[in-house]
Each structure stands twice: as C-alpha cells, then as structure tokens.
Amino acid sequence: METSGNGSDHEVAVEVNNIVKHFGDVKAVDGVSISVKQGEVFGLLGPNGAGKTTLVRIVATLSKPTSGVCLVGGIDTVANPMAVRSLIGLAGQAAAVDDLLTGRENLEIVGRLYQLTTAEARRRADDILERLSLTEAANRQVSTYSGGMRRRIDLGASLVGRPRILLLDEPTTGLDPRTRNELWSFIQELVDNGTTVLLTTQYLEEADELANRLAVIDHGNIIAEGTPDQLKEQLGGDVLMAAPADPDHLSVVAEVLAAVTGETPRIDAKRHSVTVPAADRIAALLEAGQEFQNRGVALRDLSISRPSLDDVFLSITGKSTEDGEDGEDQEVTQ
C-alpha cells in the first residue's frame, strides 16, 4: 500500500483496512475492508443497523475505530483528522442544519468555519443555493423548509468546502420518489465533475442508480462486493416475474411458478407480484403463461428481468431487506 504525505494524487480516495468498531459488547463493524477509487461512487448497501453509519462516521473522523486503519486521500483519520476534514464533505439522514437560521446563514457559517473570508463564504453560499434551486428560499429559516429542501441544504452545507470526497449517509432516506430523483441527478452532476462519493443506502434502487461499485454489508460484515451487475450475476441469471390482476391470486401464482421452475418463489406483497429465479428463461415464461391460461388466472404483468438488488440481498443473506424495520415501507406508500 502506498502512503503519501499530502495524498493529492492518490489513486485510492478512501482506504478502509480491517476496521473493527465495538460499542461495549456490540460489534457494530466487524473487520471491514473497502477501497474507494478516485472519482468513483462506492455504495455501502445494507439494512438498518448493518454498520453503515458507523463506518461512515469513522471515515469522517467522527468516531475512532477500535482497531484497523482508515486512510482518506492517503491520510490516516486517527493520526491526522484535521487534514482529513479539509478533504471531505459529510451529508446524510440526520440533516445536520440549524433550523432557526436561514438557508444562506447555514452555508455562510460553514464557509466561515472553513476559514473563508466573509465575501468568499457569501459567494459560495449564493452559488450553492443557486445550483440546488434554493435561491428563493435562501432567506427563510430552515424550519420552514420541506423535507426535500432540508436534505438539499444539508447536502449544500457539505459542498461549501469543495470536498474531493463526499460522504453521503443515506442521503434520500424518507424522501418521496420525485425529490429523490432530483437529488440523485444532482449527486450525479457532482460525480461527473470529479467528486468521489462514498454512499450508504438501504435502497437497492439507489445503489443501482448511483454506484459504480457496491459492498453489501450486514451485521458489520461485508458479505458481497462488486459492480451492481456482478452482484446480480451472483444470483445466476434472470428472474421470472408474474403479477396477478387480482391480489388474492398471489398464492396461486406462486404455486404455478414453483411448479414450472422448481425454485422457491418470492412473494412481494406490496407490489402484488411474485418473482422466481428462472435459468431457462424463455421456456419458463412460455410454460408459466400456458399454465396461467389453463387455470384461468388473469395477469397484470408477466415478464423476465434481471434480478433486482433486492433479489440479490435475499439470495446472499436469506432474508429480504424489507424484513428489518427500515424506511422502505413509508416510501412505497407515499
């Protein structure tokens, strides 16, 4: 491993090496190693309590690891936290902004804490407000902002120092789909301009949308790592999905798919659909279609698709991400 003093041309942006973090008897992170390359978006995917936030806090110098080494831009987070802090920007689910201050005041104060001159802090604040479409709300107290606006101003605050490495801890948890999409395209813009992003999420869709590489984390351990496509490969091919017109027919549909493929189908009660791995895709599709017709089950949808990351998570951990208490429920009903 190369160690460089200033780390300015370091190819690896974040190097997490065998990090362990205990809180009393609880092993929140249990020997995690990841390596985030310069300019990429690395996603940490896992349910609540998997250890994602703990890991990000260690990278952000907010928490010291029990053991292991974390280098940001080649700089040790424990030995030289101040130098690390000038490289990173942190934003996340907590929306760490001051409610009683205006959007502009929030950004300006952060700018001043980066030792910017008053004029420069103001200029950067104006620029960020503009890019995040918050100019109109700039002089309003953040307490009057919507959830999406709060998340944007929080993200904005993390950009004031022009960080090379952005740490996003569940940036869109609890947001409605439209706001989420807006935030995604903004994050994508930052990435296009060369910012490295370490992102945690419990949304498979988000990881799929933004991340070049992913690590699936569960109970403080990395249980799978690769590109989204590679992880889907691990499942061994495509899935067959069938959705009955009448939700009451879900179990019948599952029965048919099990019989056709010989695999265990997964019922998604929220989307009223059933998915099953189908190695022999076309044959399975035709056979299932025939069987549904024979039984007189009307379908809303029948298709072959690449497995979703949810399918991946299920196949690796043996449980769905939705088993845990997470934000997914809220989000779907919105």
Partner: protein
C-alpha cells in the same frame, strides 16, 4: 473586486485563489469562536421567548421577594431591595445556565454537532462559542434586573465604578457556571433529562446561600454549607462592591471560585465533547 494576495500578517494570510485564510491554531480558535458565538446569538435572537422567560422569572422573584418578605426580613438594617438585587443577579445567571445545557444537548441530538465536528475547525470553539453567547445573554438579563431594582428602591451607594465591577463579577461567575452546565448537557445528552436535572443543583445553591436571607440566621448544619459555597461568596462580594464593605479579600475568593469552576468544568466538558 479583484483578489490580490495579501502578505501574511498577524491575522493570517489570504489565498486569493480559494478565498481561504491560512490561520494558525490559536487564531483559528479565536475566529471559530467568534463564528460560533454569532451562530448562537442568532439562535437567541430568533427565539426571543427564551430571553423573555429568562427575564420574567427574575422580575417575578425581585417583586415577590421584595414585597412579600421585604417587610419582615431582618437584613441588618439594610434596605431589603439593596440586599436582594445582587442576589437575584447571581441567581439569574445560574438559572440561565440551564439554557446552555439544554442548547448543547439539543445540538448533539440533532446531528448539527456532527457537521461541526466534520469540519476542519477548532472543536473547542463549539463550546466556547456556546458559553460566550450564553454569558453575553447575562448582560441583557442583569441590566433589566438593575432597572427593575431601581424602580423598587435599589440604590447602590458605592459609586458607579464599584457597582459596574460587581456587575462584571456576576457576569464572570455566570460564564464560569455555563461550563458546568455545558458539561451537564454533554453528559446527559437528552434534552428532557437536562431540563429536569438542570434545576437540581441550581435551587439548593442559590437558596442555601446569602441570596435572599443572611446566612447567620440559618441552622448550624446548613450554615456550614451556605457560608462556604460559591454563590454566597459571589453574592457577598457583589453586595460589598455595590453598597460598601470589605471587598479585597472576598473579591479574591470570588475570582478563585470563578477560575476554578471554569478550569474544572471547562476541562470536563471538553473531555466529554471529544469523547462523543
């Protein structure tokens, strides 16, 4: 505006490309403290009800104690308003301290402290900015108490300089106690717990003292405590400075209390803050 490079001076050097000023550790601490003080004063300004309630309580206390007990209280022939005002001032800065504790617990809970901690700023400034802003609030509240006091018959007789000195001493004591409350807020973490707990030390310390009645009239066991605790020391000194009496000895004792409290709880609060 055309950016021009400025040579390094006592206040740091400006990098015109980034608009960033390079400051050494101590200067950074001073500037960050100023920024954080401003942030906390803005909070105060946006939540004037906090100041209003911080004012109503002492005004109520001044009025009630003066008119209810004033007539029957024997304070050595002194006018009771004269006796009472220095005490109420000290009590008020201590009550105000609970806002420091609640405010810090609130900040910790909302994750905004995590933002500050992830910035290349002086961490200590998060605490000094808070204690200084809260200390400054004492200027407003104590000014109002003096005005109300003047209305009900408070007449400091030892000259404007000594009275001003007493005012400053109370502020200094207020600043010292904000470190105690900062430590409490960081230690207890939850806003509810802090709200419930912050009055526990405040009540015995301000009542079992020379704040409202002379210590000499208290039972022996209580006198031992009352006569030797900081509130009595500060109140007695402020009283002597406003109305005359032996000042030098008590003032030194009071200043030692102020510095001692600041040092001990400043250390404990900082240690607690770094832990998190």
């Amino acid at each position: 505006m055309t950016p021009t490079a400025t040579p390094p001076n006592a206040l740091g050097s400006l990098d015109p490309m980034s608009g960033k000023v390079n400051r050494n550790g101590l200067l950074r601490f001073v500037f960050d403290t100023a920024t954080m003080t401003r942030r906390n004063l803005l909070y105060l300004y946006r939540r004037p009800q906090v100041v209003v309630f911080a004012l109503i309580t002492p005004i109520m206390f001044v009025s009630l104690f003066n008119f209810v007990f004033g007539g029957s209280m024997d304070v050595g022939g002194q006018n009771y308003a004269d006796f009472l005002i220095p005490g109420i001032m000290v009590q008020t800065v201590m009550f105000g301290g609970s806002n420091t504790a609640v405010g810090l617990a609130e900040d910790m809970g909302r994750g905004v402290i995590d933002r500050f901690r992830s910035l290349p700023m002086s961490r200590m400034a998060v605490l000094t900015g808070r204690t200084i802003a809260d200390g400054l609030r004492g200027v407003i509240t104590n000014t109002v108490i003096i005005v109300v006091g003047l209305v009900i018959g408070f007449r400091p007789s030892n000259g404007i300089l000594m009275t001003g000195g007493a005012f400053l001493l109370v502020l200094l004591f207020g600043y010292a106690t904000t470190w105690f409350y900062a430590w409490m807020g960081l230690k207890l973490k939850s806003v509810e717990a802090v709200q419930a707990a912050s009055f526990l030390p405040t009540f015995p310390l301000t009542f079992a003292a020379s704040t409202f009645a002379p210590v000499e009239n208290m039972p022996d066991w209580l006198q031992t405590f009352s006569a030797n605790q900081p509130v009595t020391a500060i109140v007695d000194t402020a009283r002597a400075m406003m109305h005359g009496g032996d000042v030098a000895g008590p003032l030194i004792r009071s200043l030692l209390w102020c510095f001692g409290i600041t040092l001990i709880f400043g250390f404990l609060a900082t240690r607690e803050f770094r832990k998190g």
